[in-house]
């Protein structure tokens, strides 16, 4: 697609602002804690906790979903001709997180977590940072199990402290098992990352936009935010399929999607999360690959009650074509390149550079 075609649909994003300078690095925090608490870990960072197997992963499952485009899930051919691909995706959002143990206090882990999020908006054919990226560092400490003196030291470390022993919805305080505390810290970091992403995405929605013509493509689900789930300018791309929203014949239909085909739209509503419209889309030819190759699930706001059925089809086709237009350039060498669109990878690369 020519640059002009992309350019004419892309509203000019506000001037990019530099990322906030990192408040702390792992080494700095470790040194500081070593000074304050006499002793501790060396400077070797090691792999982040996210890369370690903490806790039990979510079990793969099949969930029946309610079709809202037609009465049953079926394959729909989207027109993948370049000329038909609208440049609706003008911005992309992704966030990253990294957690490392900064100190063990009497065997209890104190974790330094870093979360970051950025929106990269397309101007012409190149991506530029929209607004100020979010980069935040926090200490995640089991405050309930730490001595007052240690808590005082953490408070003076120059990094915000998050209590990982905060009682849960059932009012229980987690036991001082180091692995449980680590797992809980990682969950807290993940929550902060999702909040950072949500903050940026909601700011995008509040800007002067024109709906789908200036859509923000979010890496992951948009069900976590009421505003995002209802925003016509936000699209979520889900690459993980531990939960498949299809069973029986519908599942076979989804797994048999050919390149450029999408499933019909269905409604996804999980627990207290916001309901959204969703459908599967095959980005790349799965021949000779596993059934999930190049398969993504898209999320968008549910259609208004008064919308005609054809409007939903038209919208799903338009979004699908826009996402299909992002299959090049490839996101190699990323291992998820079959599902990861290049601008999302660009967000990750950007955050890697500034964090």
């Amino acid at each position: 697609m020519s640059e002009a075609r992309h350019g004419e649909t892309a509203p000019a994003p506000p001037a990019a602002q530099p990322a906030a300078p990192p408040a702390a690095s792992l080494h700095v925090v470790r040194r500081r804690l070593r000074e304050l608490l006499q002793g501790g870990l060396g400077d070797e960072a090691g792999a982040p906790l996210e890369a370690q197997s903490l806790g039990t992963p979510e079990a793969p499952r099949l969930v029946s979903a309610q079709p809202i485009e037609g009465h049953a899930l079926r394959a729909v051919r989207t027109d993948t001709a370049p000329d038909a691909a609208p440049a609706v995706l003008v911005a992309f959002l992704d966030g990253t997180q990294a957690s490392h143990v900064a100190h063990y206090d009497d065997g209890l882990p104190i974790v330094l977590g870093r979360v970051a999020a950025v929106v990269r908006a397309r101007r012409g054919r190149t991506l530029h940072t929209w607004a100020r990226p979010i980069v935040e560092h926090r200490l995640y400490a089991p405050c309930a199990h730490l001595s007052p003196a240690t808590r005082a030291v953490l408070a003076s470390a120059g990094v915000p402290v998050v209590d990982t022993t905060e009682p849960g919805p059932d009012g229980t305080v987690p036991a001082p098992h180091p692995l449980a505390l680590l797992e809980r810290a990682v969950h807290f970091v993940q929550a902060d990352r999702e909040r950072a992403e949500r903050d940026l995405a909601e700011r995008w929605c509040r800007r002067d936009g024109d709906g789908l013509r200036a859509a923000l493509c979010v890496d992951g689900s948009i069900q976590g935010s009421e505003q995002l789930a209802a925003a016509p300018c936000v699209i979520g791309i889900v690459k993980s399929h531990r939960t498949m929203y299809a069973e029986g014949a519908a599942l076979r239909t989804v797994l048999a999607l050919a390149r450029g085909e999408r499933s019909t739209v269905f409604r996804v509503s999980v627990g207290r999360r916001q309901p959204v419209a969703s459908w599967y889309l095959r980005l790349r030819d799965p021949a000779g690959r596993d059934p999930m190759w190049g398969l993504v699930r898209l999320e968008a706001a549910l259609p208004d009650r008064g919308d005609a059925p054809a409007a939903l089809t038209q919208r799903a086709d338009a979004i699908s074509r826009a996402v299909l237009a992002e299959v090049s350039p490839l996101s190699l060498p990323d291992a998820r390149w079959d599902k990861l669109v290049y601008p999302i990878r660009d967000c990750e690369q950007f955050l890697r550079a500034v964090c």
């Binding site: 697609m1 054919r125 237009a325 090049s328 350039p329 060498p333």
Partner: protein
């Protein structure tokens, strides 16, 4: 000139693998930044050192562009193997421009630290002057800058100056130009630089003239004729404050052709004869430099001793010997030959041995052969007679160019001319009586005259002497060659300033260019006409400049516009020569004057007239033939009546 933008266009970067040093640093820019190899940049460090933010000047020596693509195969896969598909990609891959720069100067200069992280700016005029340390010699009241061209980058255009003290001496001296043939780089650069030198050489440093040896074609034969300049050239002349006009004072010298009628030069058109003089030497001028023409293997110590004896005791002296019947005054090759002939006859006729004054007769024969042979080998340049014509030793003019055309001469004659002219220059400069204080000697094809290998020659010795000691005398060598690597290292090594035009890739692969980055070498191999890379003692790194076309007619255009005159008859040659002194001389008058005269006498009379330059040219010329009766027309006697016809069969004739 576009004013320098205050906004930075790049940032210094350094990684553990590619750290910055005190002499090299790296920076990145946006994709549309107008910089390239050779661009001069200014870095302002982020962190103050000693209370001030350090400033570093550098010149870009290497550039890299790459994307986040890991292998080309990924791009092929991304476009389904079809090059037509890239246009469909909504997003262009992230791309970087990464440059490496060599440090030109750091301020403060102490402590000399690695280049710090900081913002990178495009250098403006003032930055360029500081970066190249030109500020030291462009100060008001002590200005010794000689413009060599303009440096252009990113819309900026800054004049680049050479320091006259380092170009002409005495601090350093000499200039060497390298470049492939046929791109009008070497000759054009020298013509331009001479014009610039004449325009900007500080008056308080004295006078300066140039001697150019035209060694091939018509390259330097039209320096006094205006050339074609376009608007861009004129703008450069104006920017560099050099008059866009040909040289005011140019004098041409060329030997005669072997026949002696006309000069052996392509500048023989009638309209250009006013400043063309013959170069003709006799025994006195040549004998001192005889060793230039003598084969070392041929002339041994005995022969050398005899030659010394002849130089010391015979030539220009009244020489007599008991063996000889009379006293001899040897002033010409003809008289020397006569002396040799009589001496050999006497030695061989006395019957008392084979030696004369310890010189064996065989040695005498050999020296006779070698010396008297010179006039034959250098016919046209060396005369048998006494008429000589030489460069104006002692009356050289300030800002004048003296072109010696040796293009049509044999190698021996070229060597002789070169050796004698340089020797005379050195003698006069040592005595401070040349007429000017500094002389620039331009020699092209240095790889022929001062090669790095091969046997030692007189000419190479002379060039080495200029290169190593000339600057103390004010004798400056501007040398040019296609292959710098083939020129003697001491010649190029002593050249304080070096210019490089487009270079041959093979030449760039030689060790002498190893200090240049691959990008600079590639740029050198692709330089356009009018572009040069300059190395100068003040510049810590080479700088690329653009110079205007010389304001003189090119050799090719000159020979088309002023075609060479046809080989003249004796009468026409004499007429043409005398007309340079007296336009009233006509061919008819010359024909009448020299009728029945011996050709050698006529040519000698012409040469003497040209040398003397008398007020009454015709009278002086004609006076040299007074001993010969002017031919007159004898009236034909009335024809006798024819005899009566005799019958064919009348045996008695009646």
């Amino acid at each position: 000139m576009i004013a320098s933008s205050p906004a930075p266009f790049g940032r210094v970067v350094a990684t553990e693998r590619r750290p910055n040093t005190a002499f090299e640093f790296h920076f990145w820019t946006s994709l549309d930044t107008p910089i390239g190899i050779g661009t001069i940049v200014r870095v302002v460090g982020d962190v103050p050192v000693g209370g001030a933010r350090p400033t570093v000047y550098g010149v870009v020596t290497e550039g890299f562009a790459y994307t986040d693509l890991q292998t080309p195969l990924h791009d092929v896969l991304g476009h389904d193997g079809s090059p037509e598909n890239p246009g469909y990609a909504a997003t262009a891959r992230a791309e970087i421009r990464l440059y490496t720069a060599a440090v030109l100067r750091q301020i403060p200069e102490e402590p000399l630290q690695p280049v710090p992280m900081g913002e990178v700016f495009l250098a403006d005029d003032a930055d360029v002057a500081v970066a190249l340390r030109m500020d030291g010699y462009l100060k008001e009241g002590a200005r010794t800058g000689v413009p060599v061209g303009v440096y252009r980058a990113g819309g900026m255009e800054s004049p680049i100056y050479l320091d006259a003290d380092f170009l002409v001496g005495p601090e350093a001296a000499h200039l060497n130009i390298s470049g492939v043939s046929g791109l009008a780089t070497k000759t054009s650069a020298v013509e331009w630089l001479l014009a610039s030198l004449f325009a900007h050489f500080p008056a308080e440093k004295g006078s300066v003239a140039a001697i150019c040896f035209n060694v091939k074609g018509p390259d330097l034969l039209f320096l006094d004729q205006p050339g074609k300049l376009d608007e861009a050239d004129l703008a450069l002349y104006e920017r560099l404050e050099v008059p866009a006009r040909p040289f005011d004072r140019v004098h041409y010298y060329a030997p005669y052709s072997a026949k002696g009628y006309s000069l052996a030069t392509l500048r023989t058109h009638d309209a250009l004869q006013h400043n063309v003089r013959p170069l003709q030497w006799g025994l006195n001028e040549v004998l001192q430099y005889a060793e230039v023409l003598l084969n070392k293997d041929d002339v041994d110590a005995k022969a050398d001793a005899l030659i010394d004896f002849i130089v010391e005791r015979v030539v220009n002296k009244s020489f007599s010997d008991p063996l000889l019947k009379r006293a001899y005054q040897v002033r010409t090759f003809a008289e020397l030959e006569e002396w040799f002939r009589d001496l050999l006859m006497a030695v061989e006729g006395k019957g008392s041995g084979d030696t004369w004054r310890t010189h064996h007769v065989a040695t005498i024969r050999k020296v006779r052969n070698r010396l008297t042979n010179i006039a034959l080998r250098c016919q046209g340049l060396v005369t048998d007679g006494t008429s000589t014509s030489d460069l104006p030793w002692g009356t050289f003019e300030d800002r004048a160019v003296y072109v010696v055309d040796v293009a049509n001469l044999e190698e021996d004659a070229q060597d002789l001319i070169f050796a004698r002219v340089v020797s005379k220059l050195r003698e006069h400069l040592e005595r401070r009586d040349l007429g000017v204080k500094h002389v620039v000697v331009f020699v092209d094809e240095l790889n022929k005259y001062a090669p790095g290998d091969g046997q030692e020659t007189y000419v190479r010795k002379m060039l080495l002497d200029i290169a190593e000691r000339g600057r103390y005398l004010g004798l400056v060598l501007f040398g040019a060659q296609q292959f710098r690597s083939q020129v003697h290292r001491r010649v190029v090594g002593n050249s304080g300033t070096a210019l490089y035009g487009r270079m041959d890739a093979d030449e760039l692969a030689t060790p002498g260019y190893a200090v240049l980055s691959p990008a600079v070498k590639t740029k050198l191999a692709t330089l356009a006409k009018g572009q040069l890379m300059v190395r100068h003692p003040h510049f810590t790194q080479p700088v690329f400049v653009r110079f205007p076309r010389p304001a003189v007619m090119t050799g090719r255009e000159g020979v088309e516009r002023f075609p060479q005159a046809a080989e003249p008859t004796l009468e026409a040659a004499v007429t043409r020569a005398l007309r340079t002194l007296d336009p009233a001389v006509t061919l008819a008058w010359v024909q009448q004057t020299i009728a029945l005269q011996d050709e050698r006498a006529v040519l000698a009379a012409r040469d003497r007239t040209l040398l003397t330059r008398p007020d009454d040219v015709r009278a002086y010329f004609a006076a040299q033939f007074r001993g010969i009766v002017t031919p007159r027309v004898v009236p034909t006697a009335p024809a006798a009546p024819p005899l009566r016809a005799v019958p064919a069969d009348d045996p008695y004739g009646f």
